[in-house]
């Protein structure tokens, strides 16, 4: 079980968060979740994650900043953006980190299997 993919979910909406955790755990991923970026950064300090699924609109440090900081601390962590912001578009800094539209998940995601597929793709990259 050492090879299990580790995922960190950062989302301030607890229901969205818990649902995603449940679904991904059912898929045998190791999933942690936090409600804001500050807590998320602490987790990054102490653990290594393969993937972070990040909401953009967060209290305090926003999702974008979180990704940039996480990347500095843990360059191997890959990101999936999960946002409900209608007018969100990738900024240059995020693009520079290799994040593409493919990793942009707009809420509501009707089928969480799309997360699973994307995670597997990112891991196999």
């Amino acid at each position: 079980m050492e090879n299990k993919t580790r995922i960190l979910i950062v989302d301030d909406d607890s229901i969205v968060r818990e649902n995603l955790v449940a679904f991904l755990e059912d898929e045998d991923f190791l999933v942690d979740s936090v409600k804001d970026a500050e807590e998320g950064l602490k987790r990054i300090e102490d653990n290594s994650y393969d993937i972070a699924i990040v909401d953009m609109r967060l209290p305090g440090i926003d999702g974008s900043q979180f990704i940039i900081k996480t990347n500095e601390m843990s360059p191997n962590t890959k990101f999936i953006i999960h946002t409900g912001s209608t007018n969100f578009s990738l900024n240059q800094k995020l693009k520079d980190l290799g994040i593409t539209k493919k990793e942009l998940f707009m809420k509501p995601i009707r089928d969480m299997n799309t997360f699973v597929e994307e995670i597997k793709e990112l891991i196999n990259d």
Binding site: D13, I15, V16, N19, L20, A22, F23, D26, G84, S85, T86, N87, S89, M106, K107, P108, I109, R110, D111, M112
Partner: protein, 581 residues
């Protein structure tokens, strides 16, 4: 008085007035031979204490017949008239060349007014006009020459360079080669008249060039002023309108009420946004201004009708746009807030369904721990219709998500990417999609509708988010098909028309359905506004189209009545380029 007399003092005939007791017999006392001997033309006689001039002229030598002309004070009277006339009078003798053409004329007599008027004096007598006034135009000489030749007197007005004046001239022939001119200076008069004519022309011009209809009527509604715009809008030319009763041309009760209040309040009556005023032009929205004329000058009214349809249209578009932007902002904001809860619903349902599944390994393991038979549990869920309710939650969630995803397009930006596409291909794709869509729907049979794409230009390129424009056109076609089908089952028609004008691309979708009620035209783009039965449509299609065209593409979309009397949607998009250019 004139009389003919023979050499024996017999009066043969006479004419003229024998005034003041003077009779031809009085003359007989004078022997004719006496006049004859002196061989002079003029004699002066005194009869009964009065002086007379006597002209004697031998008419027929053989018979010694004399024509005697006696003139008395009367001659002086005429002389005085000549002298003191307030009109300039001159007598002249015409000079003809060998060919008989008039070439010049001599001044033989001039009166005082002539001197005043021309600044010439008696020095001119005996001189010719070209000697005196070399700049005299040929016109004068030619004209006088004709009069002398024909003997027909004439009155005319003409300008003289020599005097820099306009003259009103009366010319008559006196005797062979001699003629008299009577004239006056009309320079001022003519200037006043010209000024007046100019003023009138100017006013006429102002009235006829007015961008509004200007109509003048008298107390009895008879039209006495009808400008170019009035003809243009009503189609009634001025000559037919003048004298006509205004109430035959425009809606009488509106105008009657207006005139009554115009009379009562003695002020200008203004009516804004008047519809259906002019018979046969219900499309016009007019601003009406009515005022009473000064009774002392002319009794009547003036009506100024300005076509403000375009202005109202623009205003409505602006109001509409602002309304849509605020509604759109609200909707987009709402959409954002609703996305999270919908995520919760949809993902929650997905988790519940999976975690109840009897095939899922983790469920089986957990069920064993709690000693639960998963198959039985599923039978239970089925029996209690919990599956059904979960499906219901999921479906409702999807529906809400659909509405929200439509509302998301109300935001200013488009998520899609712009591409250069060939408009005709896009329209063909829309047609394809529409036909398929209707294959599934029983209500509307797309195959029965005649779709005309002959007016879709081949070579229009469009830089756009193609999926969005596709969505807009598909929406319009579906709406059109519904409209057409609700109205007529057999001869439904939908026309696609594209054209390029300047830098703009026009796409029109036109149907022969029932059309859109005038009062609804301003509302159809509102989010959630629908005329369809509840459940048949969300009322978001046109609002989404509106935002896609206006906000995402910087274009314009509006509805009008098309050529087929149904509905026509016009989309205007910026940036037309020819294929391959």
């Amino acid at each position: 008085m004139n009389f003919l007399m023979d050499n024996k003092n017999n009066i043969l005939s006479s004419s003229g007035n024998f005034s003041k007791g003077l009779s031809p017999l009085d003359f007989v006392v004078f022997d004719i031979s006496e006049f004859n001997q002196k061989n002079e033309k003029n004699y002066s006689l005194e009869i009964k204490g009065k002086k007379y001039k006597v002209d004697v002229k031998k008419i027929k030598t053989s018979e010694e017949l004399y024509h005697i002309n006696i003139s008395s004070e009367q001659k002086d009277f005429y002389k005085n008239i000549f002298k003191e006339s307030i009109l300039a009078i001159a007598t002249h003798r015409m000079i003809f060349d060998e060919k008989g053409q008039p070439v010049d004329y001599i001044f033989t007599d001039i009166n005082e007014e002539f001197k005043n008027l021309t600044g010439l004096n008696s020095d001119v007598l005996g001189k010719t006009v070209l000697e005196t006034l070399p700049e005299t135009e040929k016109f004068w000489i030619k004209k006088y020459g004709e009069i002398v030749k024909t003997g027909k007197s004439e009155r005319f007005q003409n300008y003289s360079v020599a005097f820099d004046k306009w003259f009103d001239v009366f010319v008559f022939k006196n005797q062979k080669d001699f003629f008299t001119t009577v004239f006056r200076d009309i320079t001022e008069e003519k200037k006043t008249r010209d000024d007046l004519a100019y003023t009138k022309d100017f006013l006429d011009n102002i009235i006829s060039s007015m961008p509004s209809m200007l109509i003048g009527i008298d107390k009895d509604y008879k039209i006495n002023e009808w400008n170019v715009k009035a003809s243009e809008i009503t189609g009634i030319p001025e000559e037919k309108a003048l004298g006509k009763d205004l109430r035959d041309i425009i809606e009488s009760h509106i105008i009657q009420n207006a005139l009554t209040s115009c009379d009562k309040e003695n002020s200008v009556v203004k009516m804004d946004r008047v519809k259906g005023l002019i018979n046969g032009r219900n499309d016009l929205i007019l601003e009406v201004l009515i005022y009473k004329l000064d009774e002392n000058i002319k009794d009547g009214y003036v009506l100024i009708l300005s076509d403000i349809s375009e202005r109202i249209h623009l205003q409505e578009m602006m109001i509409q746009n602002e309304k849509m932007i605020s509604v759109g902002g609200l909707a987009a904001g709402m959409a954002h807030e609703i996305n999270n809860p919908i995520s919760g619903i949809l993902q929650g349902v997905q988790n519940i369904k999976r975690r109840l599944s009897p095939d899922f390994a983790k469920n089986i393991a957990a069920a064993e721990r709690f000693d639960i038979d998963l198959i039985k549990l599923n039978d239970f869920l089925d029996d209690r219709k919990i599956d059904l309710f979960l499906d219901g939650i999921e479906e409702s969630g999807f529906r809400a998500a659909n509405i929200i995803s439509n509302m998301l397009q109300f935001s200013g930006k488009s998520a899609g990417e712009r591409k250069q596409i060939i408009l005709k291909e896009l329209i063909e794709r829309v047609y394809e999609l529409a036909s398929n869509e209707f294959d599934l729907s029983k209500k509307v049979d797309f195959k029965k509708i005649q779709v005309d794409m002959s007016k879709v230009e081949e070579d229009i390129m469009l830089h756009c988010v193609d999926t969005e424009i596709e969505q807009v056109l598909l929406n319009l076609v579906i709406n059109a098909a519904h409209a057409v089908f609700s109205h007529r089952k057999d001869d439904g028609r939908i026309n696609f028309i594209t054209k390029r004008k300047d830098d703009k691309i026009f796409i029109e979708v036109e149907d022969n359905g029932p059309g859109i009620d005038e009062t609804l035209k301003t509302r159809i783009f509102e989010p959630f506004f629908t005329t369809k039965e509840a459940g048949e449509g969300t009322g978001l299609g046109l609002s989404v189209s509106y935002f896609i065209i206006k906000e995402h593409h910087g274009g314009d979309i509006y509805v009008s009545t098309g050529e087929m009397e149904g509905t026509r949607f016009t989309i205007i998009l910026p940036g037309g380029r020819k294929n391959g250019k």
